[in-house]
């Protein structure tokens, strides 16, 4: 691990200013992904700004319009266990408990979870080129072993996936991300616009500016329906998704669906959801119309259709 200086701050504005003023600084919350990457010297911050003491970021509160505001520092365990979340946003609890391990969920935070980096094996191997880790060095995954990697929204610079589960549920719930910018002003980012596609700049996972701090994730008022999260993976537990499906299905067969494990961001095509009553294949034909799988991961396309079919059957009961 490279040496770094460490600082604790008391307010979000102080945190944002501290990171914004130092190009080599990073925020530290739970640290479960950042410290792993620092040990491998994939992340090399010279200064860490620990945000754990900031008041007001560790609560889940009702909003004025009947939704929930989830503080950035709320742990994955606390969020999954919240009674309101389990009752009204079950897909979110389901997605969280499908990810990581008990130990990691206890430490990992809501904001940190959104900022976790890809688990592409070429990103993790400093001996190989990776445009995300070392911009301009090339992508070893394109001609490499790509079974786990993205099938849609890729570029000729990067075919990494966003690895998380929670974000897939937040996408289907139309969450918004609240931030404090380096100048102290706040902004609200619709969840679908938060994570980026790789394009020509795969080193940028999301739209945050350097020094912009996530303060909360907000859920709109509950929409009812059956909440399902189905994750297909190589082990029964403690493994990243090959394909995952987050869905909220209404009694009349209409609903929303987002997919994980297939793209550089949670993958949702709202226009395809009109086909939900016609069944899974009708939906995925539109959702994955522009897919460009590799020979190793083409299996994800029929797998996504079958996973959604399973979800629709489960929702019918």
């Amino acid at each position: 691990m490279r040496p770094f200086t460490y600082q604790r701050v008391a307010t979000a504005a102080e945190a944002a200013a501290a990171v914004a003023g130092n190009p080599a600084a990073k925020f530290l919350a739970g640290g479960t992904n950042l410290l792993d990457l620092m040990k491998l010297e994939i992340e090399r911050p010279a200064h860490l700004v620990d945000v754990q003491d900031i008041e007001g970021l560790n609560a889940i509160e009702q909003t004025g319009d009947g939704g929930l505001r989830i503080g950035a520092l709320v742990s994955n365990t606390a969020l999954a266990a919240d009674e309101r979340v389990r009752r009204d946003y079950g897909v979110l609890t389901r997605a969280i408990v499908a990810g990581a391990s008990g130990q990691l969920r206890n430490k990992a935070t809501t904001a940190g979870n959104l900022l976790q980096r890809t688990r592409c094996p070429y990103f993790y191997d400093p001996n190989l080129p990776c445009n995300k880790r070392n911009p301009g060095s090339g992508c070893a995954a394109l001609e490499g072993y790509s079974r786990q990697l993205a099938v849609i929204g890729t570029s000729d610079k990067c075919i990494a996936t966003y690895p998380g589960d929670m974000a897939i549920a937040l996408r289907v719930l139309d969450a918004t991300v609240e931030t404090v910018q380096p100048d102290g002003t706040e902004r609200t980012i619709p969840f679908g616009e938060f994570h980026r596609l790789p394009g020509d700049a795969p080193e940028k996972d999301n739209v945050l500016a350097h020094g912009e701090l996530i303060t909360a994730v907000t859920l709109p008022r509950p929409i009812g329906g059956e909440h399902v999260y189905h994750k297909v993976r190589d082990r029964a537990s403690y493994a990243f998704a090959l394909v995952s499906v987050a869905a909220v299905i209404q009694p009349d067969g209409t609903g929303r669906v987002a997919f994980g494990g297939v793209a550089h961001k949670p993958w949702r095509v709202e226009a395809a959801e009109a086909a939900m009553p016609q069944g899974a294949a009708a939906v995925t034909a539109q959702v994955f119309a522009d897919a460009r799988p590799t020979e190793h991961n083409a299996f994800k396309l029929p797998l996504a259709t079958r996973a959604l079919a399973g979800v629709l059957a489960e929702a019918k009961g």
Partner: protein, 212 residues
């Protein structure tokens, strides 16, 4: 003649002897590649198994290395050092975490419980006694992490923390083998002692959760 050189002389002339005589912790972390920021150290104090600890640590020292290399509490094990195996599991303020994925300086003021704080050889914690009784290990390297995780798992079920294998996510979780396998999936046992681990935890759960 070179072949008459004694083992002691060989060691004395090699780097190995230097490392062996260094104080614990002096080489806990490599300094990494040169350039950039010089190493930075900070004071940190927390409680470990009820005893106050005050340390001056390089900011890079993990909670795991602080426990093992600086406080010489070597019951907590370093397996993968990347949060994948669970051997380093300890409880911080009553909650289990991977101590390898946490900086010591993040834990100012925290209360940490390690395997040494659960019980002693003369007075075992019920979970430790159950692992011995059911032979819940082979090599034993993952065992301290398994036991800390198991104790915390039962507390999480009591606290109503939901799990992936729960049927009704709004209901209170129950204890059964499927729940146990899911909730303990962050602790890997390379010897494959899982069936005996399940038996040991189940025995404690039946007396523990049954009485709750």
């Amino acid at each position: 003649m070179a072949f008459n050189t004694t083992r002691r002389a060989m060691l004395a002339g090699s780097g190995a002897a230097v490392a062996l005589t260094q104080a614990p912790g002096a080489h806990a972390q490599s300094t990494g590649a040169g350039g950039g920021t010089p190493p930075s150290s900070m004071p940190v104090s927390f409680t470990v198994n009820g005893t106050a600890a005050e340390l001056e640590l390089d900011t890079r020292v993990t909670l795991l290395d602080a426990l093992r290399e600086h406080l010489e509490l070597t019951g907590t094990k370093k397996g993968c050092d990347h949060g994948q195996c669970g051997a380093c599991t300890v409880m911080v303020n009553g909650t289990r975490i991977n101590s390898c994925l946490s900086l010591a300086v993040q834990h100012q003021g925290d209360e940490i419980t390690t395997i040494e704080g659960l019980g002693t050889p003369e007075d075992l914690h019920p979970m430790q006694a159950a692992f011995v009784k059911h032979d819940g290990y082979q090599c034993g390297y993952c065992t301290p992490g398994q036991i800390c995780s198991a104790v915390a798992t039962l507390a999480e079920i009591r606290a109503g923390i939901p799990s992936h294998v729960q049927g009704d996510i709004t209901a209170a979780p129950v204890f059964n083998a499927a729940e146990l396998r899911e909730r303990m999936s962050g602790n890997i046992c390379r010897c494959g002692a899982y069936s005996n681990i399940v038996e040991a935890i189940t025995e404690v759960a039946n007396s523990d959760l049954g009485a709750a």
